[in-house]
Symmetry: C2
Subunit: 193 residues, 2 copies
Amino acid sequence: MHALPPHFTAVPLDKSYRLLNHGPTVIVSAQHAGERNAMSAAWACALDFAPPKVTVVLDKATRTRALVEGSGFFALQLPTVPMAALTKAIGTASAATMPDKLERHGVQLFTDPAWPAAPLVSGCAAWLVCQLIPEPHNQQAYDLFIGEVVAAWADDRVFRDGHWQFDTAPAELRTLHYVAGGQFYAIGESVVV
Amino acid sequence: MHALPPHFTAVPLDKSYRLLNHGPTVIVSAQHAGERNAMSAAWACALDFAPPKVTVVLDKATRTRALVEGSGFFALQLPTVPMAALTKAIGTASAATMPDKLERHGVQLFTDPAWPAAPLVSGCAAWLVCQLIPEPHNQQAYDLFIGEVVAAWADDRVFRDGHWQFDTAPAELRTLHYVAGGQFYAIGESVVV
């Protein structure tokens, strides 16, 4: 495990929905019984403001899903432009068939001391720790998982004072938005009305 | 009602998830018993590939929700950069207190002849008609609605051959991604790995 990244700064829970509001692709991570894993997911979304909740779709074939079901916790984090190849790779390879997929694709994990059971991925723009709200019908019928956000952080160069600062932050901190076939878009210019 | 917009082109259903994959803010529209309405929503997400499904969060205070519950159908569409003020306005004002909110904010509706019960908003980059999959617990406990995509179209200048073409399309066709407080981001540059 690695040290906390520089600029890793707490985000108030009542502002945490703003980390997901613009529709970024996420990396979902979890650990259970000594096993850690992480996978990419384009289908994550805010669900509520207070307490903040999120949805995320986790296919039955993924190892990460088993760890979420086992531990009752998961983390969502927002990969940045330089992480595009890593993000595609860990959304394609499965730990079920490639047990060392994290090492092989250069994924570095760390934990916040207050949340040692939530493995977090270095290099991201923001991180949310979520406690699973068990909804067996949704999980079985739709692969749809609901979590309550219990902790959140962001790189304070790109999110601070409750707002994204993409226009002034280093360009490599822009979030990724996946389409298909290895094609992402970075988030773009600010539009204020 | 207005004529079909130029460039309004069918998208195969198996590619329709790509319209939402990059996390755009949407406008949700519906009609029932002669009443039409539309509201903005940042919390919409793809849920499945085949048949394609989506989730969208609709607060109990909205008129649009009542129309969805009444008709069993809704449409999602992706507003573009020139529509930012309109998008903010119809996400704030409610038809419950401003019955003429669509006219007042310049929302122009049209319908595809094959889906006359789905009012669609002019000026958007893409449109999806969805049939509600009733899930009373989700709707009541989480304001979470699930729909199956039954028809989809895009402006073929910005989405064709199953892919977004933001890099070559007119800049005013970029999608909007809402944060809070009237602040959006436009989708940005392509990142291919």
